[in-house]
């Protein structure tokens, strides 16, 4: 990023130091660690296939390409075809070439999907030519063409007016086209309605609305469709999100159809708008605060999306539905489309009914409108449309549609964005940056990978090296200034993006501009932001690099050097166990066997039996000697675990790989030493003592410990809220660990769920196959599938089913394995029971029914086992969320009590913000899972006796689906 301080880097050449991205390895002259600021990449343009493809339409080469433009379309097609060939090699190999139909389909798909990708003067002719071609092909390939056109409508919402123009032209040329096409569209729409594909439903309704502009659909029938949709406002006992969705379908369509409706059906239109107004006015807005990026409404209100869109539509209505932003190519074909002859065939839409509500339907969540700029933020020569101008909505919609469509190809995505042609001096880059940040900060979750938005911003910087980076710099500064009220999840995303962005620009930033905030409270959002950003920068580079790029005043925020600490190494004063640690590290280094290590651990004197060493260990002075004995045994065991884990991690501290290898080598020893949750927590505590300065190491180690089942998810949750970690609770990595742990639990449930669905499907298939091959002895071909399932199941509850680390290989080496957990026993028993039960079942079935073949019987057996596993995993998942929420409430209540006793206003402390917003984050991130158990949580923990500031989070969360 060109910063205020360092913009000179990109000063001269258009591409700056960045245009070399397509150079391949051989020619990339790279930079040293201690890079001189002027060092540049060499540009040896090695023409590779990839580069060739990328050249389709780089804006920097527009001038040279003008002559080629006529050929470009054809050229593009060829390239894309090549591209497809390389992508689809299998298909080609398998069939030994494509037949005519497939070729036509490919060709048509390429042509239609890339139609209007670039809007220029050739589009008018292209559309006419395409219409002629399609007219010729239509009789032979009608099904294919209709299929692709529907695909275009579903996939490319940013170009719908181009497609409606094409459809209009076809309609004007072929008398039967219109009604046939409507039939296809409607059956597709109905299908989407039945399968709740909300996004596609909305796209269809908007597209059908635009078809009144090409005289294909009657305006009265569109109005009827709207009236059916608005009927949902009169339904009772349905969630608001249902009605919201269908009302939003009308609102997004009105900019396209409003003008025609005003001319032809003024009264009906007004009645419709009146109904919408009434509905919007009476809606509940409890859900709004949990979705807002900032807790403050200054300087921008962050409106609820339906409120904002309604305000924009009302304004458009006042302006008599005239807007200048929608590209409407159909007007250029007035002679064809709107002549008296063709005007005679306007079709009515068939009746569409909306499926009634049921509680299993999950409607789209409500949204808020993210705004960070207003007209005062942009340079004078630009005019940013106001918050309630329809242009603001239309351009934002176009930008986010393009981002969504092209999200798998970041370079194309950036090119498409820069090709938007906004009318009326609209500052496109400001709007692009605003929309991208809005998508990145979207709550509950961004739609796409966070890294995608970051890589898209990099591409945009490369395409417009002199105009985009300054906007981005301005945006970062504004976001920084608004950190105090920014939601914690969003601050975290901001940190992750910013560190990544900096790492792509050699960490160049005008850090000195932020110097005056350095005196703030160390927990304040700005300080936390800088600290966490530097932490992430270090993770992407190395400690010394950070020291080099920040001014000295920032040193106190620079993370510690991420080195391990071995407490047993400290000689003065020696701590209990040091001599054993020496011995252990020596043995581990020599790769001693697990039994050997265990023997050494057992030589550690037990403080309860040897009073001389008892002084150094923590003891409880319980009156009951029995309890005392158990406590001491436990303490003794903790010392053993601590010695073992510390030594092991210390020896493996060289890298992730070394640490993982150590864990894997002694996996069985872990299983022997560790049974209870307390012991699991001890492992985590010992790890923390070795690596307090290496957050990333802790993140990956906990991940490994959970995956290899050395510690359970619930132990991680309890450890995170333990007193030892209390001071770390506002640091972001702690929540990174918790999220990753919860996600592993969720994935586990999902895995069993999918296995179950898969088995269900197989059972259906095998039932059919069995019926078909009833008399034959041949076992149906699904046998290999069964074997693979056997393998899967023998994997048991492993969190990490694909993990092939040598964990399993060492299993047989130790025979006297203790059972690690009770649940393991349960599991085994269940399995046996299952086996018996299913065998019994099968036997009983065999009496009454024709014999079920062996494969099907096995499938049934598997099915029951997996079903059991799933319900067990669900229980654990529920338990995990219960622990997390309970610990949240305890921690927050303790804090609130403390504030009360000290007479401090808790809201004034940054601590409350960091923690309560993490609670909010857990709700939002995992809303699908949490909603499954919401009634349990409501009756057990989120009860009226807890503090309102906690309860409020729960209530707002519940309102998301209300």
């Amino acid at each position: 990023m060109a910063t205020k301080g360092g913009r000179n880097r990109n000063g001269g050449g258009g591409g700056g130091g960045y245009s070399d991205d397509d150079d391949d390895d051989f020619h990339n002259k790279s930079q040293q660690r201690q890079r001189a600021p002027s060092s540049r990449h060499h540009h040896h343009h090695h023409r590779s296939d990839r580069r060739h493809v990328q050249q389709q339409n780089p804006p920097s080469q527009q001038q040279q390409q003008q002559q080629q433009q006529q050929h470009q379309h054809q050229h593009q097609q060829q390239q894309q075809q090549q591209q497809q060939q390389s992508y689809d090699t299998n298909k080609r190999r398998k069939f030994g070439g494509l037949d005519d139909d497939e070729l036509t389909e490919d060709k048509l798909q390429i042509t239609l999907l890339s139609l209007g990708q670039k809007i220029d003067s050739t589009l008018e002719q292209t559309l006419r030519d395409l219409c002629t071609t399609l007219c010729n092909d239509l009789t032979k390939h009608k099904k294919i063409i209709f299929g692709i056109l529907n695909q275009c409508i579903q996939l490319l919402p940013e170009r719908i007016t181009i497609y409606s123009t094409l459809i209009g032209l076809l309609h004007a040329s072929i008398i039967t086209f219109g009604s046939d096409f409507i039939d296809t569209c409607i059956s597709s729409l109905k299908e989407c309605l039945l399968t709740y594909k909300f996004e596609v439903i909305q796209r269809y309704i908007r597209f059908l609305s635009d078809l009144i502009n090409v005289k294909l659909i009657s305006s009265s029938s569109i109005l009827k469709l709207y009236e059916i949709l608005i009927q949902t406002t009169t339904e009772t006992n349905i969630p608001q999100v249902r009605t919201d969705f269908f009302v939003s379908c009308i609102l997004v369509s009105l900019p396209y159809s409003g003008k025609v409706l005003l001319e032809k059906h003024n009264t009906e239109l007004n009645r419709l708008l009146y109904t919408i107004d009434k509905y919007v006015y009476k809606r509940s807005k409890i859900h709004v605060p949990i979705l807002q990026v900032w807790t403050s409404l200054e300087p921008h209100p962050q409106e609820e999306y339906l409120d904002c869109l309604w305000a924009q539509i009302k304004r458009l209505n006042q302006d008599e539905w005239s807007e200048s932003q929608i590209f409407r190519p159909y007007y250029t074909y007035a002679d064809t489309l709107f002549s008296d002859i063709s005007a005679s065939i306007v079709h009515d839409l068939p009746l569409i009914t909306i499926p009634i509500h049921n509680d299993t339907i999950i409607y789209p969540l409500p949204k808020i409108v993210f705004r960070m700029f207003d007209y005062t933020d942009v340079p004078e020569q630009f005019v940013l449309p106001g918050a309630h101008a329809i242009e603001r909505y239309l351009i934002e919609e176009e930008i986010s549609n393009i981002i969504h469509t092209y999200h798998t190809e970041r370079k194309d995505c950036a090119i498409q964005l820069t090709q938007i042609r906004p009318k009326n001096k609209i500052p496109l880059n400001y709007m692009i940056v605003e929309v991208i940040f809005g998508l990145l900060f979207k709550l509950p979750r961004p739609q796409h990978l966070e890294l995608f938005y970051g890589s898209l911003l990099l591409e945009l910087c490369k395409l417009q090296p002199s105009t985009l980076p300054p906007v981005l710099v301005q945006a970062v500064d504004m976001l920084f200034e608004r950190l105090n009220t920014m939601k914690t999840s969003c601050i975290e995303r901001f940190v992750k993006w910013f560190s990544y962005h900096l790492s792509n620009f050699q960490f160049t930033w005008a850090w000195q501009d932020w110097i005056n905030c350095l005196d703030e409270n160390s927990e304040s959002p700005k300080i936390k932001f800088i600290r966490e950003t530097l932490q992430r920068c270090m993770r992407l580079s190395f400690h010394q690099r950070i020291i080099e790029f920040v001014p000295e005043q920032f040193y106190k925020l620079v993370p510690n050097k991420p080195s391990p600490i071995f407490k047993f190494e400290e000689i003065d004063p020696p701590i209990f166990g040091s001599e054993y640690a020496q011995l252990l590290t020596k043995k581990i280094k020599e790769r001693a066997a697990a039994e050997d290590i265990l023997r050494t651990l057992n030589t550690v004197p037990n403080p309860t039996k040897d009073d001389t060493s008892a002084t150094t260990t923590a003891t409880s002075s319980s009156s009951s000697s029995i309890i005392n004995q158990t406590t001491n045994d436990l303490t003794y065991n903790m010392v053993q675990i601590d010695l073992f884990v510390s030594s092991l991690l210390w020896i493996g501290s060289k890298s992730f790989t070394h640490s993982f290898a150590s864990l894997a080598k002694y996996h069985q020893l872990f299983k022997i030493l560790i049974e209870t949750e307390e012991q699991q927590i001890q492992v985590l505590k010992s790890m923390y003592e070795v690596w307090p300065n290496h957050q990333q190491m802790m993140v990956v180690l906990v991940d490994k410990l959970v995956k290899t089942q050395i510690v359970e998810c619930s132990a991680v949750a309890n450890w995170i809220f333990s007193s030892e970690l209390g001071s770390e609770l506002t640091n972001f990595y702690v929540w990174e660990i918790l999220s990753s742990t919860i996600e592993k639990m969720n994935r586990q449930v999902e895995k069993y769920h999918n296995e179950l669905l898969d088995l269900r499907r197989q059972l259906n298939i095998s039932a059919t196959v069995q019926a078909a091959t009833h008399t034959s002895d041949i076992i149906p071909s699904n046998e290999p599938i069964i074997t693979s399932h056997e393998e899967k199941i023998s994997d048991e509850n492993k969190m990490d089913e694909n993990d092939n680390t040598p964990v399993n290989e060492e299993k047989p080496t130790i025979t006297n394995l203790k059972r690690r957990r009770e649940s393991d026993d349960d599991d085994d028993d269940d399995e046996n029971n299952d086996e018996k039960q299913s065998t019994e079942k099968i036997q009983s079935m065999q009496i009454s029914q024709p014999p079920m073949d062996e494969a099907t019987a096995k499938l049934h057996e598997k099915y029951e086992i997996v079903e059991e596993r799933l319900s067990h995993a669900r229980e654990q998942q529920k338990k995990l969320y219960l622990i997390v929420f309970q610990r949240f409430i305890m921690t927050l209540s303790d804090f609130l009590n403390e504030c009360e006793s000290k007479n401090v206003d808790p809201v004034s402390t940054p601590w409350l913000k960091w923690i309560i917003e993490r609670l909010q984050e857990i709700f939002l991130l995992y809303h699908e899972q949490v909603f499954q158990y919401v009634s349990t949580f409501e009756s057990l923990i989120f009860t009226s006796d807890i503090d309102f500031c906690i309860l409020e989070v729960f209530q707002q969360f519940c309102a998301l689906r209300a």
């Binding site: 397509d22 590779s48 299998n90 190809e409 194309d412 995608f452 890589s455 992407l540 790989t657 993982f660």
Partner: protein, 164 residues
Amino acid sequence: MSDLTIPFLFQKSIALSSYRDRQFRGSEGDQDKKLLTSTTLYVGNLSFFTTEEQIHELFSRTGDVKRIIMGLDKTTKTPCGFCFVEYYTRQDAEQAMRYINQTRLDDRIIRTDWDAGFIDGRQYGRGRSGGQVRDEYRKDYDPGRGGFGKRFNPSMEMEKGGLV
């Protein structure tokens, strides 16, 4: 959107490149098949100083990383500028191809490509001097990758040989 089939038009970034491992055991068809379902990426143009930790930080942003195998110089057993990153799922690996390829790590533009899957032995450089072949004859001075190419003497003009 996930329920819609994204057409090939938007899949360029995850298409196979023209590179094929000539030491692959099996037919080219087998290799292609493996590449098309692989969850492993080859990562190139790393600095010799880039660590596993840094690679993990960047690549874990597209998904759960199963393991990272650092490319080592055959003789010195030190990093020689490449690695393999293995994910648990194809989808996560595809995301890395889409969003990490051709971006920077440690101030260098790194390159990712599909790999048919790690086999022991592949962690070593295949150049005669122990590093990667590309570092044998490289003519430029690249301090992040051990200076000049191992067989290139800057004081003498080297003609033939070219790039292998």
